[in-house]
Structures are given as structure tokens and as C-alpha cells.
């Protein structure tokens, strides 16, 4: 196929698979952070994101994000993958079919990220509906603004791998979701502790691994900006980790493992928008400085009534915001070939970044708030208190993560029919 570069295509095939891995990795990370009775439900929200967002992406999401140069929204020319085939997009060197898949994995992980705000109480069915609508009404719109020819990218905003549609969108949507769905019934009354720190660490490690595809693939080739973003994805989270260690020591005299896992995520988020635009040295500074606001918000948030359970706002919203603004100061044309930031004499770049840092959170928050209010008017968003107390694994899925098998009576297919199914005791 003319215009297709085999090396670029090979790398992007791998990068796409790496990004898809991030969603189950996020499932592990989140599942470790909740109580054991909600392990499966928490992981299943990430699995659900893969199922739902892939289909909505193929149906209309991709088209609304990437068809045409409309200021606010793309067209429907590629709806149902019409015209998405082996030919590259304009100026691209990989088949559009692969570009579609790579971008689809971004939509999936973003939907999965929001689940962190509503775990341990949101109904699974309501989350499926929310995922479908959010992936189109919020993700596709913001992806169009930042990647697909919309007003931000056309105006000069630099966002390498998704500070706007992925990180700020998920973070500020998570805040709205936590406000609409409401706090867990035990929040603020009992200590609600992570049930498996090993899952959290393993999930964070796999997320970092996948992030090399996320950032390294966002140049869509094997050129300089991809290599820069790839290496910055190693450097930035490392300095975030070190600063996080220091902050932990100052507060509690001990470096915590779950803090370290969180720092890995925050570091990866910080470098996501900036990866291909800033030098390795600035990337290390970004990781170090950006740790501070996220750490502070996590420490502060638990003292509030807002049960944004797994701190998506602090880890993704805040760090994405910080990363987007950092580009405005320290972007360097000698590294990215596109534009300088304020520090190198181009104040206009900072203004473009400020626009994105204001518009994306505002749209994501308002749209998600309204969307959940509408869904909530049609169906209940939360499980009952009784179901919440018993755990969502049994109530929503009829399974347990840590089943012992003791006292379990095998039902043969014949007597299955005779047994009432009291998964939820009507009481």
C-alpha cells in the first residue's frame, strides 16, 4: 500500500497491544485498592470499558473524533468504520485501520479510569450505560479537540498523548461522577482500606509498561518524537517516585508501597501530554515538581465529604493539568521540531496550553455531571445500602473473588431450574 511504512506499522501494532494491556492493569490497580468484597466488580468495570467503548468507538466515536476539521466535533463520514481501511490517513505512514485501533484503546482506558470514582457502590448496569454515552459524548469530543483537527489542536495547543481527552477528561469527569453518584455509605465512618497492596503494585507496574506504548506510540511512527516520548516515559515517573518517597517520609517517616504505586501513575500521567515536546532534563523536572500537587490533593481529599474513591482527579486530572501547562513553559523546538514554550521565548504557546487546561476540565465536568443526572433519572445509579454492605461481587455478579468452596453445594443442571435464585435477598 502506498505511503505505508513497514517499520512504523510494526511498532504501532505493538504499541496498540501495549495500550490495551493498560486497562486490565488498571483493573488490578483498582481492585487492590478496594475492599475484598468488591474486587471482581471493580475489575469488571475495566473489562466493561473494553467491551462497551470498543463498540461505540467503531460505531460513531472514531468518526466524531477524527472525521474532518470541524471546530467542535468531527463528522459521521467514518461512522461504522466506513472508509477505514489499509490506506493511511493524510500525512500518516500507518494503515488507518491500525490508527483506528490505537486510538480506540485510548478511549477504552479513559472510560475505565472514571470507574475509580464510583467503585464499591455504582450499579454495574448503570455503569455500562454511562460508559457507552460518555465514550461518545465526552471522549470523542475532547479527542477531536486535541487530536482530530478541532479548535485546540488547530489553535496550536500541544498535547502529545492525551493530557486533554484522557487525563483531564477522566480526572474531572471522575469528580463529577463522585458528586452525582454520592459517597459510599461507610465513607467517613469507617476506615476503608486497600485489601491487596500487591495487586496495586503489580497493576502500577503493568500500567507503566503499557504506557511506553501509549506515549511511545503517540508519534504514530518510529521518528524522533516517538523516541523522545518513550524515553521520557522512563525518566519522568522515576523522579516522581523519588519526590513521592520524600513527601511520604516528611509526613509519616516511612516510604509507602501504595504511595509508590500511585507515584508511578502520576509520573506517567505528567509526561503523557508533554512526552514528545520537552527535553529529557525538563521531563525529569516535570516528574519531580508535578508530584507535589497530586500528593497534596490525595492527602487533602480524604478529609472532605467527596468520596472520589480512588483519587482519579488527583492522579489524572491534576497531573494532566500540570503536564499540559508545563509544555507552555518548557517546550523546546530543538527537541520537538514544532514550537518553543515561554522559557524559550514563545509566550503564545503558554496561552494555547492555558486554553486547553481551562476548556477540557470545564467540558468534562459539566458534560459528565449532566449525563449522570440524566441516566440517574431513568435508572438507579447505585446499589441499595444492603447490597453495598454485602459487597458488589456477590450482588452484581454472583461470584466472589476469594471463594473457599466450603459449604458450596453443586447444583446439577436438572435441579437448577427448581431453585429460586436469591442472589439478592428481597428481605
Amino acid at each position: 500500500m502506498s505511503g505505508v511504512d513497514t517499520g512504523d506499522t510494526a511498532w504501532m501494532l505493538i504499541a496498540t497491544a501495549l495500550v490495551l494491556l493498560m486497562t486490565p492493569a488498571l483493573g488490578l490497580f483498582y481492585a487492590g485498592l478496594v475492599r475484598s468484597k468488591n474486587t471482581l466488580n471493580t475489575f469488571m468495570m475495566c473489562v466493561a470499558a473494553i467491551a462497551v467503548a470498543t463498540v461505540t468507538w467503531a460505531a460513531v466515536g472514531y468518526s466524531l473524533a477524527f472525521d474532518g476539521d470541524g471546530a467542535l466535533i468531527g463528522g459521521l463520514g467514518n461512522a461504522f468504520m466506513s472508509g477505514v481501511d489499509f490506506a493511511p490517513r493524510e500525512e500518516g505512514t500507518i494503515p488507518e485501520l491500525l490508527f483506528f485501533a490505537f486510538q480506540g484503546t485510548f478511549c477504552i482506558i479513559t472510560v475505565a479510569l472514571i470507574s475509580g470514582a464510583v467503585v464499591e457502590r455504582m450499579r454495574f448496569g448503570a455503569f455500562l450505560v454511562f460508559s457507552a454515552l460518555w465514550s461518545v459524548l465526552v471522549y470523542a469530543v475532547l479527542a477531536h479537540w486535541a487530536f482530530g483537527g478541532g479548535w485546540l489542536i488547530a489553535g496550536g495547543t500541544l498535547d502529545f498523548a492525551g493530557g486533554v481527552p484522557v487525563e483531564m477528561a477522566s480526572g474531572f469527569s471522575a469528580l463529577a461522577a463522585a458528586l452525582v453518584v454520592g459517597a459510599r455509605k461507610d465513607y467517613g465512618r469507617q476506615a476503608l482500606l486497600p485489601h491487596n497492596a500487591m495487586y496495586v503494585l503489580l497493576g502500577a507496574g503493568l500500567l507503566w509498561f503499557g504506557w511506553f506504548g501509549f506515549n511511545g506510540g503517540s508519534g504514530f511512527n518510529t521518528g524522533t518524537s516517538s523516541v523522545l516520548a518513550f524515553t521520557n516515559t522512563l525518566l519522568c515517573p522515576a523522579t516522581t517516585l523519588l519526590v513521592w518517597f520524600a513527601l511520604d517520609v516528611i509526613r509519616g517517616r516511612k516510604v509507602t508501597a501504595i504511595g509508590a504505586a500511585t507515584a508511578i501513575i502520576v509520573g506517567c500521567v505528567l509526561i503523557t501530554p508533554a512526552g514528545g515536546f520537552i527535553s529529557p532534563g525538563w521531563a525529569m523536572l516535570l516528574g519531580a515538581l508535578g508530584a507535589i500537587p497530586s500528593w497534596g490533593i490525595i492527602a487533602y481529599r480524604t478529609r472532605t465529604r467527596v468520596d472520589e474513591t480512588l483519587d482519579v482527579l488527583a492522579a489524572h486530572g491534576t497531573a494532566g493539568f500540570f503536564g499540559i501547562l508545563f509544555i507552555g513553559f518548557f517546550a523546546q523546538e530543538s527537541w520537538n521540531g514544532l514550537s518553543d514554550g515561554l522559557f524559550y521565548g514563545n509566550a503564545a504557546q503558554l496561552w494555547d496550553q492555558v486554553l486547553a487546561a481551562l476548556a477540557a476540565p470545564a467540558y468534562a465536568f459539566v458534560a459528565t455531571f449532566v449525563l449522570l443526572k440524566v441516566i440517574g433519572a431513568v435508572m438507579p445509579l447505585r446499589t441499595t445500602e444492603r447490597e453495598e454492605a454485602g459487597g458488589l461481587d456477590v450482588n452484581q455478579h454472583g461470584e466472589e473473588a476469594y471463594v473457599t468452596g466450603e459449604g458450596a453445594i453443586l447444583l446439577l443442571p436438572d435441579d437448577h431450574e427448581k431453585v429460586a435464585v436469591p442472589v439478592v435477598d428481597p428481605g
Binding site: G398, E399, V403, G407, A408, H416, V419, V421, P422
Partner: protein, 117 residues
């Protein structure tokens, strides 16, 4: 002396702890147990295997108290453990022959009275 054994829902365990604290019952042990009472069984499916789960997770409190404290302890476990639904658990009070505090060798009433009382 009495041994008060309270078997409650795991999700109510924290409320029971708080109620015991308010009743000034300071010494007790708790363990995770599985049990079956009058509650309906859960049906769960793991791939093709459908099972009826006959045992529910419960938390078992054991509190050794002097006679005068027995009713307060029972009341506290009831208050903390009750949701009003089938499956809230049971409390058993049994006589206790002898108790020893290992550190000091204190016996009986002295062993079940919290330090500093």
C-alpha cells in the same frame, strides 16, 4: 463470670466494635468464621458450575466478662449487629469456670477486668 459469644455479619463488625467501646467493654477477641442460619442461600455460577453457597461469612466475638457486665455486653453486640434482616447472627452466653491473665497470673474476676479499672 460469663463468656459472651456473638456471631455477627462482617459488615456490622465495626458497629459492634464501636458499641462495645461505648459500653466500656475493653477486652475481647474476634475471628472470621463461616456459618449457616436461617438466611437464604446464595446461588453463584463459576463458568459452567452453578453452586448453592450454604455458608456465609460471619465474625465471631468472644468476650469474657464478670457477671455484672454480661448484659451490657449482650446489649452492645445486639445494638451494633442488628440490621433487622435474616442473617444478623446470634449471641450465646455461657458460664465461665476459670480465667487467668497470663502476664500477671491474676485469676478469675481479676483476669477479666481491664487493666486500670
Amino acid at each position: 463470670m460469663k463468656l459472651v459469644i456473638g456471631i455477627v455479619r462482617p459488615e456490622q463488625a465495626n458497629q459492634v466494635l464501636e458499641a462495645l467501646h461505648r459500653a466500656e467493654v475493653r477486652g475481647f477477641s474476634m475471628s472470621r468464621v463461616q456459618g449457616h442460619g436461617g438466611e437464604m442461600d446464595r446461588v453463584e455460577t463459576y463458568r459452567g458450575t452453578t453452586v448453592q453457597m450454604g455458608l456465609s461469612e460471619k465474625v465471631r466475638f468472644e468476650v469474657a466478662v464478670s457477671d455484672g457486665f454480661a448484659q451490657k455486653t449482650v446489649d452492645a453486640i445486639c445494638e451494633g449487629g442488628r440490621t433487622g434482616e435474616v442473617g444478623d447472627g446470634k449471641i450465646f452466653v455461657v458460664p465461665l469456670d476459670h480465667a487467668v491473665r497470663i502476664r500477671t497470673g491474676d485469676a478469675d474476676e481479676g483476669a477479666v477486668t481491664p487493666v486500670g479499672k
